[in-house]
Symmetry: C2
Subunit: 425 residues, 2 copies
């Protein structure tokens, strides 16, 4: 009962936390506002493309423009999320402030003209570069700067998906494969919450997904129902989700490397990419795989929301989205990988449910989080994201699918800068 | 697209997992059966004590008997959970097989005669020592033995509370303050699930807790409602829960050290402890703080379940349970610390809710998980436990309360063998 030690230790904890609140508050509010603006813009350009489909023929020109922008203003910023992860691991050249306008503007262009991309990468990069800017203004030492950078990532992630707890765990988990360190637990949670509250207060509504499934048959678990046959199906699906993550990662790397090697002019790369995207869409006779894909204006169209219902995806939907996204992001366009990963997972989950006779909404939800968990090596954040988006009833299945996808995605991921702390086997 | 590498890596992952399934299955089934037997016995002796309250006068003799048992059969095993944590960190003398019957029998004696203790320590120790025995039979190398020990802990925890996901995260998280390593993610989840399914299949029913509270007013979050005033109350409560964890840890250490120093005969220590427990109960005029405390046979009595409703706790309930548990476990009796921590947290949460005008069921639930999170330094496992026991609706509050309690419990905890990997500040 060393009273003096108690007072010193606990007052120090309180002082530290208060200090972080003051540092994080402006960062998180700015990130929240920016994400709100970004999501609003994204809705606008997606609606514009739906109305004027001819615009996708300008995709090659858009690609050249994006390449020119990064070339002109910041070659450094093109490294995106990896640059922020690198900077957290080891202080380097810094995260440039120009990253925010560049990634925001180029993502919007990519979506307007029909590239297949997401939003998380953009939000996380905006969060990271805003945090880096504040760290420079505050003249922070590296130890604090790296935590503020993690807070920026958490703020971006939490605000863009409306999942602050998952955002905080994601920012801690994404840095290194196989390990979480808790040094920024509270700061990251705080940043995610403030950014999310700011963003939703601007009137942004996140898509509501519903998994109505609850297995009431053999009630073995408190609050969580259980069924061994279903568990078997979830295990097989989890392994397939992991292999799909692996396929996406490898195909993205392959397309990027091959196009850099065989297409001599860097200006030609996005042009070839754009032509491929348009050609594949016309061959398929479907434009459902362009853009974000969260919703679809056509009643019978394929989208993430549609995949939660019977008939919401075809057997090959997941593959076409995977291919078009790998081309889009591997050949010079900008945006996140995560919403396409949600799309790939949800449509693959839909298909697996139809084939195996499992509940479609549950399997779409499992694919949604598990393919993402595999590709980014963040099984805990994705399990918690499942709870935040779909409720806690099926957490045991979320954990099984995400943990297995994490194992079976191998030692790679969409972020090349992740270190490997603990091997998966 | 190195196909050959793919085949080798993924076949290796599959082979490893299959290997673990075969290793874990017998361990988890045995642990599940033992936990079921233990929980059944616990119900029996608790009911017996309620019927024959005079039995608590035999508590001093029970204490001497427990001391004699450990002295006679395994002094080593008295280190309990710490011995298992030590063995996972670094191979030492091994976890003796005698730990299982010793902890099972002495916990039952403690509960029968009215000591204030829990069940998790017992379940985790049985899990660890069963796993150690199988590791000897399987002739496992230390690398695999330590993972099997973690699986045993996860199996015990998952089965005793019916929370397999929290059990898996707990086994990974409890080893070291401030860090999680993922090397046993799937094995631990598997062990927790198999043990839990085994245990519930024996007809064991876990207590159902209900948090009916959902804040529908300003809907800022998807699936998770939000209210800034309530958030403020949760933050204050989270800090107080952490300080309570700290108080419990320090008081337990203090009582243990003081009694070892000033009570010259080790046989006298449990006698003094028992007399104190009986005297305090008579002074309070209440026997609600003896035993497990999950339920209470008297309609107006204080218990964990009662704390979820108005009038289910007095302003000082949390303190008396804390004091009696610290005496029980610090002076030679056996059992877990966790169920008493649930009791302390739930009754303190009830009191804080009454004082601040917050929802009682929510705050009882927050205290339930957060005091435990602080005392064991396992904020993620406890957040997930909240979801498994109370549903996912309030996960943001679970995270805020558990993370804050983790910070404010300081760098100590009820398990002295936890290393500190990452300082909290």
């Amino acid at each position: 009962m060393k009273k003096s030690k108690f007072y010193i230790e606990h007052l120090y904890i309180a002082k530290e936390l208060l200090h972080w609140v003051l540092l994080i508050f402006p960062v998180a509010v700015v990130v929240g506002l920016l994400v709100a603006f970004f999501l609003w813009l994204l809705d606008m350009v997606t609606a514009a493309r739906w109305q004027h489909l001819w615009i996708i023929f300008l995709l090659p020109i858009a690609g050249i423009f994006i390449t020119w922008l990064y070339n002109r203003f910041s070659k450094n910023a093109a490294a995106g999320n990896n640059l922020i992860i690198d900077e957290i691991h080891k202080p380097g050249g810094g995260v440039p402030a120009s990253m925010t306008p560049l990634i925001l503007f180029t993502t919007i262009i990519t979506h307007l003209f029909g590239g297949s991309a997401g939003r998380e990468g953009t939000a996380v990069q905006m969060g990271g570069s805003i945090a880096a800017q504040f760290a420079r203004w505050f003249k922070l030492h590296h130890d604090r700067k790296r935590i503020l950078l993690m807070c920026g990532m958490s703020a971006g992630f939490g605000a863009v998906f409306g999942t602050p707890v998952a955002g905080a765990i994601f920012a801690l988990e994404v840095l290194t494969i196989g390990r979480i360190k808790y040094d920024a637990l509270i700061p990251c949670l705080l940043a995610g919450m403030i950014a999310d509250i700011t963003c939703t207060s601007c009137g942004i509504h996140h898509t509501q997904y519903t998994i109505a499934f609850t297995d009431d048959a053999p009630n073995l678990f408190p609050y969580i129902q259980f069924d061994m046959v279903l568990l078997g199906k979830v295990i097989v699906a989890g392994i397939l989700f992991g292999l799909t993550s692996y396929l996406f990662t490898q195909l993205s790397h392959f397309i990027k490397q091959t196009s850099n090697r065989f297409i001599t002019s860097k200006w030609l790369i996005p042009v070839v990419g754009a032509v491929l995207i348009i050609a594949i869409s016309y061959l398929l006779g479907s434009f459902d795989y362009l853009g974000l894909g969260v919703t679809n204006p056509n009643p019978g169209g394929i989208s993430i929301v549609a995949a939660f219902n019977a008939g919401g995806a075809t057997y090959t939907s997941w593959f076409w989205k995977l291919l078009l996204t790998a081309i889009t992001l591997g050949m010079g366009f900008k945006g996140g990988e995560v919403t396409p990963l949600f799309f790939i997972g949800a449509t693959l989950g839909n298909t697996l449910a139809v084939i195996s006779g499992a509940p479609i909404d549950l399997f779409a939800g499992l694919g949604f989080i598990a393919v993402f968990a595999g590709a980014t090596n963040t099984p805990l954040a994705c399990t918690i994201m499942g709870v935040e988006l779909f409720g806690g009833t099926n957490i045991i299945y979320f954990a099984v699918a995400c943990f297995l996808a994490y194992y079976f995605s191998g030692h790679t991921g969409i972020y090349g800068s992740q270190g490997i702390a603990v091997s998966k086997f």
